[in-house]
């Protein structure tokens, strides 16, 4: 059964000047961004950056100290059945009614959703190799994560929030999970926010990046845009005219000698900037696109520089 979402908000997640304090500790400080519908958003950040807090705020499990977060067009603190029906949540530490079996938990959860996709549930149960007869309390962490994902997607949400959904999954299941997510995107145009440290995996599906650093927003931009802005250059100068340090603001890190230098750069137009470097230093410039794994520290570094300046 495939029932399309009743409507898709143009911006299913809107964060405005959001702050969250736990006692005196600041988890999020003045964070603002909007996520366009139909995107797969990678929510990145180091441990303690505020990713889980942000996702908990987005689904109304926490209340903001200041600012606002709107989920599916409604203030997250006031999410009603209409919004919850279209919201899927996969939490980092899934908590179930652990005295149930997998089957009972699925039936229980399904009973709350008018558009639960039983066919998808069956297919995913098989694909993820989940045993419906097992009690949840006996499941391994990986299996619990699988169940959590299953419960999060089978009602075909239009916004899916996933907090470290794949950290305990083996590579094979992880690959299958990515397929499932891609399929959901293709079929329903679901917006997915996925927080993960497995950047190599996430990179395959995301098209938008939100990066948090110490509770503050470092970046919110499309992944394509970031890939165009960040690059690794290898400069080769036959005459050895390369300087020991590069003072250009676009250079985020570099290493090498006067003949050969490797640097990571960030610029609005990396192609023309590369040409400028080539003529300035009379060197051959080879550019390589960065993976998300390589880009991530640069995103944080760039924010640090901005904060300092």
């Amino acid at each position: 059964m495939k029932t399309p979402s009743p409507f898709v908000s143009s911006e299913p997640l809107v964060v405005e000047n959001l702050s969250k304090l736990f006692g005196k500790r600041t988890a999020l400080r003045d964070v603002s961004f909007k996520i366009p519908a139909g995107r797969v958003v990678g929510l990145l950040g180091r441990n303690g950056a505020g990713k889980t807090t942000l996702l908990d705020l987005a689904c109304g499990l926490l209340l903001p100290t200041a600012g606002e977060i709107r989920t599916l067009g409604c203030a997250a603190r006031e999410l009603e059945s209409a919004q919850l029906n279209r919201l899927g949540v996969v939490r980092q530490e899934p908590r179930f009614l652990d005295w149930m079996t997998v089957r009972q938990q699925l039936e229980f959860t399904a009973s709350f959703y008018p558009h639960w996709d039983h066919a998808l549930e069956k297919r995913l149960t098989e694909m993820l190799e989940l045993d419906g007869a097992r009690r949840i309390v006996q499941l391994s962490q990986g299996d619990q994560q699988k169940l959590s994902i299953l419960l999060g997607v089978c009602h075909r949400p239009s916004l899916l929030l996933m907090d470290e959904p794949m950290s305990a999954l083996d590579p094979i299941i992880r690959a299958r999970m990515l397929d499932v997510l891609l399929e959901r995107l293709r079929d329903d145009g679901c917006t997915v926010v996925v927080s993960s440290h497995l950047l190599a995996d996430v990179e395959k599906i995301i098209d938008w990046v939100v990066c948090l650093d110490a509770g503050e927003l470092a970046v919110s931009a499309s992944f394509d845009e970031l890939q165009e802005s960040y690059a690794e250059w290898t400069l080769h100068s036959a005459t050895g005219t390369l300087p020991e340090t590069f003072s250009e603001t676009c250079v985020l890190s570099h290493e090498g000698t006067t003949k050969l230098a490797r640097m990571r750069v960030c610029a609005a137009d990396t192609a023309s900037e590369a040409e400028r470097f080539a003529s300035m230093y009379r060197a051959e410039v080879k550019s390589r696109a960065l993976s998300l794994d390589e880009m991530f520290p640069l995103l944080l570094k760039r924010r640090e520089r901005r904060a300092k300046s």
């Binding site: 109304g60 209409a82 899934p94 009614l97 229980f108 709350f112």
Partner: protein, 486 residues
Amino acid sequence: MKAGAKQFFVFWRPLPLLWAAVSLINPVFMTCFLHKAPESLARFLGATMLLPLGAGMTLALIAGRVIHQPAVMLLPGARRFYQRAFLWMAVAVGGGLVGFAVWTTANALPVGSVAALVFLCLSVGLLWEPLSRWWGSTWLLALVTLAMCVAGIFVVEIRELVAGNPGWFLAAAAAAFFLMSRVIFAKERVRERAMTVMMLCGADLKTLSRVGLARKKWVAQDWTRGAVAATDERGWLAAFSHEWFGAMSWPRIVVLMLWLVGVWAMVALGVVASHVKLTQQTLSSAALSREFFALVWSVGSERSGVPILPFVTCAAALFLFPFVLTYPRMTALYPISRRMFARLVMRMTMRQTIAQVGIVLAMTLLVAWLATVLAGETFRWRASSMLAVPLALLPVLPWIAGLMLPLSQWMTNPGRGLLTRYGLLLAAGWLAGLASACVLSFFAAQLLTWPGVVCVVIAMLPGWCWLRNRVNRFYLLSDLVARERM
């Protein structure tokens, strides 16, 4: 099956079922127990009127367990569904109670006293769990509990309570009360004990995790790291508030206190009731209440010139005081004691071990001697002295065990520990506990009958378990900290 029914009946687990069974069986059993057999259909029906109460409480418990879960809170309509269900259950419970109270009072049926007290036990025991978990309605639940307790007290028919041998009933009620509360905590306790033992044997967190004992909540976040951070950063007060107010909300503290007071109230009633013999008389409820309190007040005066009720109350209050001190003590001491525990737990010398065992033995002998002398010379005993001495010792022993920690600290860090404000607080609490326990044990001994003995023994068990738990936690926490820092 309709979705709503599925949402309700899908919740099952052995504990609520057990409680439901107890709710069903208890009144019938108690009726038969006290009156040999149900003498009439009316009496039997009176007993079975507890069914909706028990069932309502069980359902409330289930709802309470369920609704707090994030997994449920995010389900569309679930919050409202369970809130509504819970309110209906509360109405059913309250209505059932009122109806029952009116019916038994109007008919002056003896089952009333039984039912009221059983219900009292059930209510607090059952509500403990949802209260601790479902924050949204804790105050409502606390109020319901309080109302039920008050109603229960009024429903009690005094002549039934004091006639025959109601001490047995109270002993049974106290046992049920205690057992229920222990059942709730049993799993945690077993895990905690096993974990502590393994840690003391040198297992690390990885090993504990592998055998399924290390609990993230404890080891990683809740009380371990939270307490460590709180105490390191903000000192004793923060640690105190972390333990009391971080881990426990005010409603939970209130119910905890109700629970303790409930246990002690039952013990006091058991002791008194097992002593007092009254002829059955028919009086109005108000007159009965007056009579009861006058009676309780005067009990003991005839014998020793000391009214029992105020003494027992004071003793109970004093007994609670050190419990309150237990939490801050555990967290307050460990920043100083992590060095101590590095030595004590991991490198304790033979001399230290022998000294500690010696202290405990010496204190035990001292209190035993005091109890024997005082009890033997001051009070008349109704049982053999062989029974009286251990009975008198029972309330005192937890305090002797409690003395181990500061003394150990003092031994390994001479000049510190006992002389700090934590040490002084602990010493004050300890002395208050010891004094109150002694007072209580002497009164219990004075009024000694078999039901009285059972009551006192049962009443001591929570104190024992609690103290041991706290000691275990202290050791565990200190050990974790010691390992982390070394």
